[in-house]
Symmetry: C2
Subunit: 465 residues, 2 copies
């Protein structure tokens, strides 16, 4: 009679299979932003659901939201123990510019310790960890130390437009004592962190219409407004020359950075030189009077994510373009309200529209409220204990400049905070070309989830029991 393996032995023994499964998952181009990939997002949802079932999760379902679906599943056989909602997403960012990828973005390539592909790090690689952790526990111990629910969405990369309503409509199904996110970062491969905040977001597109069709720049140049010029006028008006946003009222609701915040943010080591080298810029740039970390974690932004108009090919074309377009997005910090920011930006655009063109503004469906969680929340203390065990180091307390829209929604609709426990790293080109994920993050993530579930069963975290 063979002895039952431990969960650690089980994870080791199945490592190759897990990697193969992850590659299969990555090959589904589940780009939530692009309408033409909507069926791929569905397929990634079905894949996730199937994978949960194979892990031993019950009541698995792909649930409609009115947009991209949500995958739910649970294991609720630990009476008297807390219920943990594990969060992640199976959608990914668009892959273009394709020409900058060394390999096709949806044909994952393992080079050394890294899987290169869109979604490898954000969030498919991370998402595997809680699933395989649960599988290993169920396969070796026959049970989990706590009740677990999975909430895995397909619209994170477009700011989760249908998730607020979905959560509101499914409060009972999703009721829990704490949420844990398998989407997020560690500070570095040998330094853990607890992320206690994320910025909010709103996004919109500005379309400027000039003449009905492109016109000859000789015959009409100087007579009519050029929509690209009018767009540039709007875009340039968003910031002063030092990087402050000049939209009236934009900063009004932003929570000031307290002395305590400053101290916290000055904690983790930060090398401007290393960052410059990694990004390939000669100097950093942004709002004066704030450190780069403060700007990224606790100050709002307005960025142009794309712009286009007229002739973009090689060579020249002597036209006044008919249209010009820009996509902008704002990251928000505590106490800023998405609706109010949209209102202010729209008003600003109207005030800076030159004569002779028409401007249309389309709002992106997704909006995210900023998120901030007490660093000493018991969930954070439990995660910190796990990270200390895994890394042999106390985690830094940090915030993210990024956005996970659903954290604030979970807080508002389900009444619980979301603890981050994920293992991506900032250098993994999360939204850019040549995204990659470190394979040992997979190993670490699996172990982390096993330890966390045990920890939450009674250790540091009695308050949720």
């Amino acid at each position: 009679m063979t002895e039952t393996p431990t969960w650690e032995q089980y994870l080791s023994a199945n490592r190759d299979r897990y990697i193969k499964e992850l590659l299969e998952f990555i090959r589904i181009p589940s780009i939530s932003a692009l309408p033409e990939n909507a069926e791929d997002v569905q397929a990634a949802g079905r894949w996730t659901a199937g994978r949960l079932e194979r892990a031993g999760i019950e009541n698995v379902a792909v649930l409609p939201t009115g947009g991209h679906p949500v995958v739910y599943g649970d294991w609720l056989h630990a009476p008297g123990r807390p219920t943990i909602l594990i969060y992640g997403h199976f959608d990914v960012q668009p892959a273009d510019p394709l020409e900058l990828w060394d390999h096709p973005p949806f044909e994952p390539e393992i080079i050394g310790d890294r899987i290169y592909a869109r979604g490898a790090s954000d969030d498919k690689g991370n998402l595997m960890s809680p699933i395989t952790a649960v599988e290993a526990l169920l396969a070796t111990e026959g049970s989990l130390p706590v009740n677990v629910k999975f909430l895995i969405e397909g619209q994170e990369e477009i700011s989760s437009p249908q998730m607020e309503a979905f959560l509101a409509n499914n409060r009972e199904l999703l009721a829990c004592d704490l949420a844990v996110s398998a989407d997020g970062l560690q500070w570095s491969p040998d330094q853990p962190q607890i992320e206690v905040g994320a910025r909010g977001m709103v996004a919109l597109q500005i379309d400027v219409q000039g003449p009905a069709i492109d016109q000859h720049s000789g015959l009409y140049g100087g007579i009519i407004q050029n929509p690209a010029q009018a767009l540039a006028h709007i875009l340039a008006s968003f910031h002063d020359n030092e990087g402050r946003i000049t939209v009236d009222g934009f900063y009004d609701d932003a929570a000031p950075i307290t002395l305590e915040d400053r101290e916290m943010m000055a904690g983790p080591p930060f090398s401007e030189e290393e960052l410059r080298a990694r990004l390939g810029v000669d100097e950093l740039f942004g709002e004066p009077d704030y450190t780069p970390i403060e700007r990224a974690w606790a100050r709002p932004t307005l960025e142009i994510c794309g712009l286009g108009g007229g002739f973009q090919g090689d060579g020249e074309k002597s036209i006044i373009p008919s249209r010009a377009m820009a996509k902008i997005s704002c990251r928000l910090v505590s106490d800023q309200k998405p609706e109010e920011i949209i209102r202010l930006v729209k008003r600003h655009i109207a005030r800076h529209t030159l004569p002779g063109v028409k401007v249309e503004i389309s709002e992106a469906k997704g909006r995210a409220t900023p998120y901030l969680m007490p660093p000493d929340h018991p969930g954070n203390l439990a995660a910190a204990k796990v990270l200390l065990e895994l890394y042999g180091k106390q985690p830094f307390v940090t915030r993210s400049g990024g956005t996970i829209a659903v954290f604030s929604m979970i807080l508002d609709q389900l009444g619980v905070y979301t603890v981050g426990l994920a293992f991506s790293h900032e250098d993994e080109n999360l939204h850019g070309p040549n995204e990659f994920f470190r394979l040992d993050s997979l190993d670490r993530g699996q172990k982390a989830y096993v330890l966390l579930l045990h920890e939450l069963a009674g250790g540091l975290y009695p308050s949720v029991a």
Copy 2:
């Protein structure tokens, strides 16, 4: 024995063939701006050369220039009579945005009295007229009333970068008493004009480089300069809110508009309402203190012809783009020098470059000096007489806001002015989608060239004999 037809009968009898030939000519996508179409430009040159030969022109050759070729041919059997250099071009503008064409741009479509296709009006339709006129005369009369040389180029739409050197190197071959251009406009289908001026042009591309690859707008937003923002800052700085160019020194050399100029430009009727309706704009826009006609004919411009950067697809992508790009072109008026304008614009860009990005400026190869010809030049008087006969109306004296780079080069290198005798119209979408040419302009153009050659043989134009 059949009687020899008159040239008019000959033109009538061959009308269908000429249209068929024009369609064949148009099908060659001879876009000079796009490197991938270079062979098509060559093919259009060969087509033109073959067509000249079939018309009875001698010494036909496709001559190299270092860039797109020139087609030359002559008929020099009128001793003691003036030599007329007939100019035109066989290259065309790019066709995009393709989705706005009702028919594929290089598959000409005849609808009613119009041929729809890229290049139908600019300049292939026009160019047919002097060729068929010469053919008709040679076929019916066995000779031409004057000596004729053809100079047909393949780089007009990119401002003729190699033409200045080509003309300088071929002064003897091209020596003549007057040039006549088969590239240009009439005021309307029932109102002729003599165009006595054209604006000059310079063009350049601005590339702004931010981070080495696209970056996550959450992780790095607020920390580094956004190249699209930096580009917008540059572009917006080119004009004040009323449309004046704010590049230091830009207007310094521009010849002031004299009272006489104002009077001339106030001559032709101008309906702002009609223009607004045709272009589809609610209002005209441009430098205060000048009428729209003055702005188009005698004031310089700086226009954004294209811009791009970051994510331009449907939906959203939360990035700081790695690069952003704009193409700009300036139209110049008398006494402005292309090199000086390039220098001033470059200096302006350097002064308006924000920290944290690198800017590269590439100049387009072609530059055009502004062109202005005395309205009472004997060549203009000859053309005016022909137009009066054709239309039953005195032509308006006008200028073009457009650019025909080679006019100034011909003046500088060959010492002669170029008279415009061409039959496009401003509403024919010359550089835009659904370009078209009126078939009766073909009939009128042929007749005009026969009459002009006779006129120049001795009538109004003894000075060149």
